[in-house]
């Protein structure tokens, strides 16, 4: 058992509302300059859940399940910074009041997974509260590895092995080279995700990255996200795919930071038998992965 400071973590409520989809211009250019009209972020998504394919949807940056945000700037950022993947959520207003879900990712909105019967009852504007716990989580024997957006519940499922000499090892669904990392480089590592770049489909296929699923645990080579996100040879970052693909240049499935190390102390291997995916780990979303 990896020793952590979980006994010291504070559990605190944050909240948002099921947020409406919005559209400025209907058209967006793809990487060849062709305009498209695609459904994108926000809303209650009834048919895309964590564990489903990241590619192939007729949508852009699709956020699975329910997207929530808060109207006020302070509470909105509390929601962003404090909510952790795997935290419990509860609907506190509307037809679905009392229904329980799970926080699955952070993008333009916080994404929450609910079962289909609950999704059908949720109206835009319904309040959803998250029991945020995970901010401040540390691996006590690995101070050189940063931990982010991680509920203790998810941490326990990651199948982390201790190898000695400050090293750990865990299974991932796929490995991303540094040059595939795009939009989000300009943002702090504690805020939302960084997209992998999916416009070069040949390279994507050659790297085995064209069959990712939302919720996949991924390794990024030579990326140090200890403080912001950047290239450092030998560094390793472990992340989680939080949203669907995009057709915009420099965009693609998003990767949220979970663990990062400036040196090579995080080892990983691709597990093709038991897919390292949030849906399977927490028994949510697409149940075929469990």
């Amino acid at each position: 058992m990896v020793r952590t400071n979980r006994d010291q973590l504070v559990e605190m409520a944050v909240w948002g509302e099921a947020w409406p989809a919005a559209l400025r211009s209907p058209y967006r250019p793809n990487d060849r300059g062709e305009a498209g009209v695609l459904m994108g972020t926000a809303g209650v998504i009834l048919n895309v859940r964590v564990g489903d394919p990241a590619y192939g949807w007729a949508g852009d940056h699709v956020e699975p399940g329910v997207s929530i945000r808060n109207r006020e700037d302070g509470p909105e950022h509390a929601l962003h910074y404090l909510a952790c993947i795997g935290n419990d959520a509860v609907v506190v207003s509307g037809e679905a009041a009392g229904a329980r879900g799970v926080m699955t990712g952070e993008h333009a909105h916080i994404m929450v997974d609910f079962e289909p019967d609950v999704l059908e009852q949720i109206a835009i504007g319904d309040r959803i509260q998250i029991r945020a716990v995970g901010m401040g989580l540390e691996m006590l024997d690995y101070p050189h590895i940063s931990v982010r957006k991680m509920s203790p519940r998810l941490f326990d499922k990651l199948r982390i092995e201790e190898l000695g000499d400050g090293r750990i090892r865990l299974p991932v669904a796929a490995v991303l080279p540094a040059y595939m990392m795009g939009s989000g480089a300009e943002l702090g590592a504690d805020y939302v995700d960084q997209d992998m770049i999916s416009n070069d489909r040949e390279t994507l296929a050659a790297l085995g990255l064209d069959n990712l699923r939302i919720g996949d645990i991924l390794a990024i080579q030579d990326h140090d996200h200890t403080y912001n996100r950047g290239y450092r040879e030998g560094a390793v970052t472990i992340g989680l795919n939080n949203h669907g693909d995009s057709f915009m240049t420099g965009h693609g499935p998003g990767v949220m930071d979970l663990l990062s190390c400036a040196t090579d102390k995080i080892e990983y291997y691709v597990d093709t038998q038991q897919r390292p995916n949030l849906a399977a780990y927490l028994g949510i979303g697409n149940k075929s992965l469990a």
Binding site: D31, S183, A185, E186, D200, D224, Y227, N228, R232, G250
Partner: protein, 296 residues
Amino acid sequence: MVATNHDRLVTMSVQGNVVSPGYPGIPAIPHQIDHEGRPRLLPALGGIVYNVRLGDSVYGWAGDNIEPGVAIKSPEGPANQALNVFACVGNQAVVMSGNAKGAIGTVTGKSGRFAEHVILAFPPDVLDRLAIGDKINVRACGVGMTVRDYPGVKLKSLSPPLLESMRIEENDQKLTVPVKAVVPPELVGAGSGLTSESGAICIQSMDRNALQRHGLDALRLGDIVALADYDSAWGHGYRKGSVGIGVVSSTDSIKAGYGPGVTLLMTAPDGEIDPMVMDRVNLVDLLGIDVGGAKA
């Protein structure tokens, strides 16, 4: 020399004001966190910068993404968008108010998300007379320029005089473009996924060994560089075989994922550009810009 439609381009005024530097207010924790986790308080974007000039090294300054010379911005969103998209590197900038009224400078680059500034070079005596808030008019010309016989090559933020000065040659249906250095795709950072019509894309500088390995440790403000395997036709993103050309327009940064800012000038998604590495490929030489003693 390449053939273009430069005689059919529109020249239009876009205007901005000299911007003030800005910092967050109370609770008075104005630091940026550097890539080793240290809080640092340094001069950053904006303002009139007297001593960091085109031709100077991008590295070693006690500053973060410093814009050399003068940075301008329009107070109105859509007007600032027009300023940031239509202004082209090499365009003339004319001071329209204040003690330096009538002085002429040159557009040298742009800054990206979180700043949206256009960067200008003026001779030192003009910098001495400029005040924050002074109006500066850019005679924007370049957007819409195309290269005959190369429909796949897109030009951005590139003025006709700069294109003419770049010593581009046609070789075997490709454009050979002189550059100071070539940036590999793993070192392209902040700006990826964002617009290529304005703003900047950073050369990541956290890994100093990687910078040295790629000859990027001696870059100067105004150097022309190539981006390998980067497609910037409709936003910036990785594509094997694509080539971008840009100009180094702001200094290094302390933050992971950031570094010297590059304003994109040309992109060939299908690879019709061959960068040729050589010395003295800097705006100071190419445009004969007076920065008070040529330094490149």
